[in-house]
């Protein structure tokens, strides 16, 4: 077994670089840094390519190495638990195959596997972790770098078992052995020891240890990286806070957004906040509570069960201190759910029970009105209330409510909304699910639950909801599925579900709007038009319809969409009819709409997907004729009439914008489809600029012959002066649009005739080839002018 990992890394890097695999060679050097210092984005950028290359080159050792470092990042920086377990197991197996067994990092993979269990449920897996680690420690020498990591991990397991004193002595013994073997202790080792000292209440020693460790690091000429600096500050702030040196602690404490960015920082950060708050040196706000609750949800989702419970207990203590009864109860309920996922609950089960008891002991607020009237009262306030206090009021109203089911459901909806805003996303969804049993037909309830699930990207939940609704309220089931499909841009399915829904409830308006949008996305304009026309048919009259039903009346956007769809279908009477309802005045009373309105910009997509903004003349409410002669990266060309979506893509400049900006502004619209192709073919001309006058005459002559021309080169474009190779002449590079009536040979003749008297010839090699004429003069021009 090779003993020096870094020597191996160096060799591997060298060999890969020499073999020309530079990117993998670089990745080998970069990846541990990204992983260790929490540069998660950069790690995610490099990792997939590196692993794929290692596999393609059949380099299993390199694969173990790469996957190990990523695993370190997932576990130590992102605090993933169950989520990382399948990969940890897979990697463990991979790192112990015949071809990888002697890889120096196979040992580290065993350690990753142990850490993963520490994240899932550290105390629950203490005996297993100790067994795995001691088995591995027995296999290696203290001179190896892994000895350092494994010893830290071992001491962490002892800490999780409530044995910090043993943990410290384990670290100290390991340190002695490593030093005796000539091995230097890593800064991580010292950080780990600082953590143990903190557990033992020896915070003065924490500070001293961090100072000496960092000094030693600097004396070696190695700069602390960002992550080390952050952790140094975090550990100091926590120790200082407990020593009562709150000012110093506050100065060092990382900002909340750093904790937001780095999950590894959060437990120590929240612990420090608790100490500082107890000392009256830090606020305890609902926003802080929401942030910490969000982190609880993160640990819940990544399957870090025990860290999740530990953090939610802290969040619970903070909520109790704020007197936020409902929030504290919600956390207690989350805690009770999480306890079932732990193997060992001594210590925490009691704390969760205490949290519940203390939360229940908090006074319920007095209701200013009967429970059934609370929501109206809250809605009538000029200023929104504090969300936690509102939640308490609504919860109180809910427990005393005795009216009909719908009223109870309204209270649940409000409460769920508030809890969601306070970070309790899962609890809010659970609340709605629970209510669904009592009030299965409540449209807003299923609507909100659907929205919550769709927002959370919970496809399984959406399916569960839809299946459940199918029995009682198939329309709602279809609507839920349709919205989910729309959120995922599966337009054909949107159409299917909407059609099924309309079969159940033929007068629905919003369903048709969604179905029409889906049809437009699919390019099915006849269907879209039919749906918009049905909207006009089934809509409620604008007058006399109450505000909450206003969405069922005809909106102006419906008419615009109808105009667009009808235009795409060339249904001109329908265009005119819908246009008249919006107030569009047409120059001609009937027939196809082909007028000259204003200059606009139509935004189309090139073959490679980038946007192309094309000047055009608007010829109707949703049509425009394109002006430029275009290259083959667009399926459009000069003279083509296109349909666009008549919603502005960019806001007009404000009144205060410079005049020039306001004057140059043109409305920008999204291209929808090609309506009437004009059939132009593009050929490129290139060469020296003939001068403004000649060019203007050239353009006019071409236009008169039914051709079009569009200059692509800027003022900076220059071509070689054939008289003096070091000099440049101003150049022109342009596209000539040849009408469908003219053949290439005719176009060639026209260009030849029009440029005959020019001092410098232009080249149009491709056109000449297509025309079947002699290409020699064009080749010569290309050569002489350096085109």
């Amino acid at each position: 077994m090779s003993t020096d990992i870094w020597a191996w890394v160096h060799d591997a890097h060298q060999q890969l670089a020499e073999a020309g695999h530079h990117r993998l060679a670089e990745a080998i050097y970069e990846l541990p840094g990204h992983a260790n210092e929490g540069r998660n984005d950069q790690l995610d950028a490099v990792f997939p390519e590196a692993v794929a290359t290692a596999r393609a080159l059949d380099l299993p050792w390199v694969e173990v190495y790469l996957r190990h470092w990523r695993m370190q990042n997932l576990l130590n920086k992102r605090h993933q638990g169950e989520q990382a377990l399948p990969e940890a197991v897979d990697l463990l197996e991979f790192a112990h195959r015949e071809q990888t067994a002697s890889c120096p990092q196979s040992v580290c993979v065993v350690q990753d596997f142990a850490i993963c269990h520490a994240r899932v449920d550290g105390p629950g897996f203490v005996p297993e972790r100790l067994a795995v680690l001691s088995e591995t420690l027995d296999r290696i020498e203290p001179a190896r770098a892994c000895f350092d990591c494994l010893s830290r991990e071992y001491s962490d397991a002892l800490e999780d078992d409530g044995r910090p004193a043993e943990a410290l002595s384990h670290l100290d013994t390991a340190a002695t052995r490593m030093r005796a073997a000539g091995q230097r202790l890593s800064l991580h080792f010292h950080h780990s020891r600082a953590g143990t000292l903190h557990l033992l209440g020896r915070d003065e020693e924490v500070l001293a240890l961090l100072d000496t460790a960092e000094q030693a690091e600097r004396a070696r000429g190695s700069e602390l990286n960002e992550s080390d600096r952050r952790w140094g500050a975090m550990l100091r702030a926590r120790a200082l806070a407990r020593l009562g040196r709150v000012e110093e602690a506050l100065a060092l404490l990382p900002a909340a957004d750093e904790a937001e960015q780095h999950p590894d920082l959060r437990p120590a950060w929240v612990a420090t906040i608790e100490i500082l708050h107890a000392a009256g040196a830090h606020e305890n706000t609902a926003e802080l509570g929401a942030a910490v609750t969000g982190w609880v949800g993160y640990l819940d989702a990544t399957g870090s069960h025990r860290p999740c419970v530990d953090l939610l207990l802290a969040a619970g203590r903070l909520a109790l201190a704020r007197g936020a009864r409902t929030v504290a109860l919600t956390l207690a309920a989350t805690g009770e759910r999480k306890l079932t996922q732990l193997r060992r609950t001594d210590g925490v089960a009691g704390q969760v029970a205490e949290l519940r008891a203390a939360a229940e002991a908090l006074p319920e607020p007095e209701l200013p009105v009967p429970p059934g009237e609370l929501l109206a009262l809250l809605a009538a306030r000029a200023e929104p209330g504090a969300p936690e206090a509102d939640a308490d009021l609504i919860a109180a109203a809910r427990s005393r409510y005795q009216g009909d089911e719908a009223g109870a459901t309204d209270l649940v909806l409000q409460l769920a909304g508030l809890l969601g805003a306070l970070g309790h996303t899962r609890a809010a969804a659970d609340l709605l699910w629970e209510r669904l049993d009592q009030d299965p037909g409540h449209e807003e309830l299923t609507g909100l639950l659907g929205a919550v699930l769709i927002d959370a990207g919970d496809g399984d939940g959406v399916r569960r909801l839809a299946d459940r609704l199918m029995a009682t309220s198939p329309a709602d089931a279809h609507w839920t599925r349709a919205r989910w499909a729309a959120a995922e841009s599966r337009w054909a399915e949107v159409g299917e579900h909407c059609a099924a829904l309309l079969a159940e409830e033929p007068t629905r308006i919003n369903t048709r709007r969604l179905a029409a949008a889906a049809a437009t996305e699919l390019g099915d304009h006849p269907r879209a038009q039919r749906l918009y026309e049905e909207i006009l048919l089934h809509a409620l009259p604008a007058e006399g319809t109450p505000p909450q039903e206003q969405h069922r009346t005809v909106q102006e956007s419906d008419l615009w969409h109808l105009v667009t769809a009808a235009t795409a279908n060339r249904d001109w009477p329908a265009v005119r009819a819908a246009g008249a309802r919006i107030g569009i005045e047409f120059d001609e009373p009937e027939g196809p709409v082909d007028e000259e309105w204003q200059l606009v910009t139509v935004r189309a997509a090139r073959a490679n997907g980038t946007a192309a903004d094309l000047p055009a003349v608007r010829t109707g409410p949703a049509t425009a004729r394109l002006l430029p002669v275009l290259g083959d990266d667009l399926d459009l060309n000069h003279g083509d009439v296109v349909v666009f979506a008549p919603a502005l893509l960019e806001r007009p400049p404000g009144e205060d914008a410079p005049q020039q900006v306001r004057e140059r502004w043109r409305p920008v619209f999204q291209l929808l489809t090609l309506l009437d192709p004009a059939g132009y073919t593009t050929w490129w001309i290139d060469g020296a600029w003939p001068g403004d006058k000649k060019w203007a005459a050239f353009r006019q002559d071409l236009n008169e012959a039914g051709y079009a021309v569009w200059a692509y080169s800027s003022d900076e474009y220059a071509v070689t002066d054939p008289k003096d190779e070091d000099e440049m002449l101003p150049g022109i590079y342009a596209a000539v649009g040849v009408p469908p009536t003219a053949r290439a040979a005719e176009a060639d003749a026209v260009l030849r005739r029009l440029t005959k008297r020019w001092k410098h010839p232009l080249a149009w090699l491709d056109l000449a080839k297509a025309a079947g004429v002699d290409t020699a003069r064009h080749e010569e021009t290309v050569e002489r002018y350096g085109l």
Binding site: Q42, E128, E521, E716
Partner: protein, 668 residues
């Protein structure tokens, strides 16, 4: 390096003392330091290349001009520096028309280390144009020369001339010579053999062109009429014409390795840094390596560091540039910079300048922008992840490698029917088969930065992302059937199509031409490997126990899922035939079963897929064909309605079409 700094500090202290007075010129004097030791330090430790000695001498010449201007502000002197090389004689000379030295100055400044008039002068006058710092400059000449002479005439004693001469630097002599025509000095080096190449004037032009490009005093080589440093510096003078063209000219002249694609200025940032200069996007890159960052840093007009790449953001591998600053502090070697707060401020300012510059380019120079995207697409993908503004700029423009060439995320999305498809694996597998059939472009998730870039794009542009090869992504491919199949039909299909360990899943998926597809269960695969007896020998026992505790949670009975496409005409026909009791149903099912096995064999390496035996499947095709083509008397139901028992048939032998076998596929 550390050693060298200690030596210098030491001599810096010594130099505070009084210098001995001038002694008779014929005496050979001993330099105030142990030059033998110091020169070796200089030559082997302090400077990375002998060229640095030349730089130091040119810089002395430049300082001498500044000094003259300070001491004689009204005097008329035309500052020039001329460097000549003579390959035949193996000499290099550096001549200036600056202040020159008096004899006491020769003793004081040429022969001592760690001081230097320059530094004294700068401290007294606060003049920033003086470059020298450590008083080492002159002595560095001995790292490349056997013999050094300095012939000088001070502007204060224009009638006197002196010549300093030393071999090896440890001992020197000073003798009177005729005064120079104009005050100033000429330093002549007789080069050591190994440095003879420095005497070639073409080499000198190249080196000095780079070192002196920002130096105010014109530097000539040989008899040239044009100074090597006559490229207009776009941030110093108002250039004639288009400022952008001026920037591009400078970048072209300066960037030796690559042509610039676009150039943008660096200006002093508020409260941050005084640095000014120019950055440019390089054309091309070294094969396989994306980090071609190239930044030259000048301090008071003189090149300080040729490779200060760490000042540029790590993601900007395609950027080159030049900056000058007065605030940066060089290390003792004057080839690198101290990492102080000015350094960090400049790092930030440069990162901002790159982003600003790219924005400007995208807005004003679409052609250059397209070239940048085409050249550096892959690096930009990664860069976008490191900087939010850059991401916004690049989200729609930068091409992503896909199965159908480079496409922007928008094009990928449009072609994917509103969803962005990414393959996580490095090819192969059923997903690729499926998507090859659908002809949807799939982003190469195994390429640099593609996956996180597209994930963020999907977030920003609110579109669906399908990660093929992930459990969730695979589920995306298969939609539920419109109506669930009756249990009895499902059972018949399972018996007819699925092999052992395969679970039949009725579904709908694209393309309709594909009737079924087999998806291996990764958890079951892992379970099998962990629970294999061989694992005992390989994996340490405590870890293995824990791993088995994990795999015990999955049943492992389902080794693969067989998705049956109810939207496929073939499957619909099969079901119709079965429902109507058509005698061909079993034969048709046998064909589909063979198709499944053959596709699974093509999609994955053998052994990983639990699908049935390939040779049996191929034989099954033969059976079906012969059954379908058998000439039969009308009305006789002689086409077998069950699959023959293939595994028991002899390999290669065609089973007897009329004989049939046990009713293993019959559920009807």
């Amino acid at each position: 390096m550390v050693q060298a700094i200690v030596v210098l500090a030491h001599w810096g202290l010594m130099s505070e003392g009084h210098r001995p007075g001038p002694a008779p010129t014929e005496d050979l004097r001993t330099t105030e330091v142990d030059l033998g030791g110091l020169v070796s330090v200089l030559a082997t430790h302090l400077y990375s290349t002998p060229l640095v000695a030349l730089r130091e001498l040119v810089q002395n010449a430049h300082d001498s001009h500044t000094r003259r201007r300070l001491e004689d502000p009204d005097g008329r002197h035309a500052p020039t520096i001329r460097v000549r090389g003579d390959s035949a004689r193996r000499t290099v000379s550096i001549a200036d028309t600056g202040a020159g030295l008096t004899e006491p100055e020769i003793h004081a400044y040429l022969a001592t280390v760690g001081t230097g008039y320059t530094r004294l002068l700068r401290e007294v006058t606060g003049n920033d144009e003086l470059i020298g710092a450590f008083g080492l400059g002159f002595l560095s000449a001995f790292s490349i020369a056997d013999e050094v002479t300095v012939t000088t005439t001070s502007h204060r004693e224009p009638a006197l001339g002196h010549r300093y001469r030393s071999r090896g630097g440890e001992q020197y002599s000073v003798e009177p010579v005729a005064a120079r025509r104009t005050p100033g000095s000429v330093v002549e080096l007789t080069l050591k053999t190994e440095h003879a190449h420095l005497a070639e004037e073409q080499a000198l032009r190249e080196v000095l062109g780079r070192y002196c490009v920002l130096l105010g005093v014109p530097v000539f080589v040989g008899d040239d009429e044009r100074p090597v440093n006559d490229v207009p510096v776009p941030w110093r003078e108002e250039p004639a014409g288009d400022p952008y063209a001026a920037r591009m000219r400078f970048a072209t002249a300066f960037g030796r390795r690559f042509e610039p694609l676009a150039a943008f200025p660096v200006g002093p940032a508020a409260g941050g840094t005084d640095a000014v200069g120019l950055l440019w996007v390089q054309d091309g890159g070294t094969y396989g390596s994306s980090d071609n960052r190239d930044l030259a840093v000048y301090l008071r007009g003189m090149l300080l560091s040729e490779d200060a790449r760490d000042l540029l953001p790590s993601w900007a591998g395609f950027v080159g540039g030049v900056v000058e600053s007065h605030r940066l502090t060089p290390t003792a070697s004057r080839e690198d910079l101290q990492r102080d707060e000015h350094y960090r401020a400049l790092q930030q300012a440069l990162a901002d300048a790159v982003v600003d510059g790219l924005y400007e380019t995208a807005r004003l120079r679409p052609a250059a922008w397209r070239r940048i995207l085409a050249r550096h697409g892959q690096d930009l993908l990664g860069a976008a992840l490191c900087d939010d503004r850059l991401f916004t700029l690049l989200a729609d423009d930068v091409p992503v490698p896909t199965s159908q060439g480079d496409l922007t995320a928008g094009a990928l999305r449009a072609a994917g029917g509103g969803a962005v498809h990414i393959a996580l694996g490095s090819g192969g597998g059923f997903e690729e088969m499926l998507y090859r059939a659908m002809q949807v472009p799939i982003a190469r998730g195994d390429r640099y930065a593609v996956l996180p870039f597209l994930r963020r794009y999907a977030q920003l542009r609110d579109c669906r992302i399908v990660e093929l090869g992930s459990e969730h992504g695979n589920r995306e491919l298969f939609r539920d059937p419109e109506r669930p199949l009756p249990a009895e039909e499902r059972a018949w299909l399972a018996a007819a199509l699925a092999d052992e360990g395969e679970q039949l899943v009725p579904a709908r998926f694209e393309p309709p031409g594909l009737p079924l597809v087999l998806v291996p269960d990764r958890e079951a695969e892992l379970k099998a490997r962990i629970e294999d007896d061989q694992a005992d020998a390989r994996i340490p026992s405590a870890a293995l126990r824990l791993a088995r505790a994990f795999t015990a949670r999955t049943g492992g009975e389902v080794k693969a899922r067989l998705y049956l496409n109810l939207a496929a005409p073939a499957v619909q026909d099969l079901l119709t035939a079965y429902r109507s009791g058509h005698t061909g149903a079993a034969t048709a099912a046998g064909l589909l079963r063979s198709l499944k096995v053959i596709m699974a064999a093509a999609a994955g390496p053998s052994g990983t897929s639990p699908a049935g035996d390939l040779s049996a499947a191929l034989a099954g095709i033969g059976t079906a064909v012969s059954a379908l083509t058998a000439a039969l008397p009308a009305g006789l139901p002689a086409v077998p309605d069950t699959l023959p028992d293939l595994p028991e048939a002899l390999p290669g032998a065609r089973p007897d079409a009329s004989g049939g076998g046990p009713d293993e596929g019959a559920g009807a």
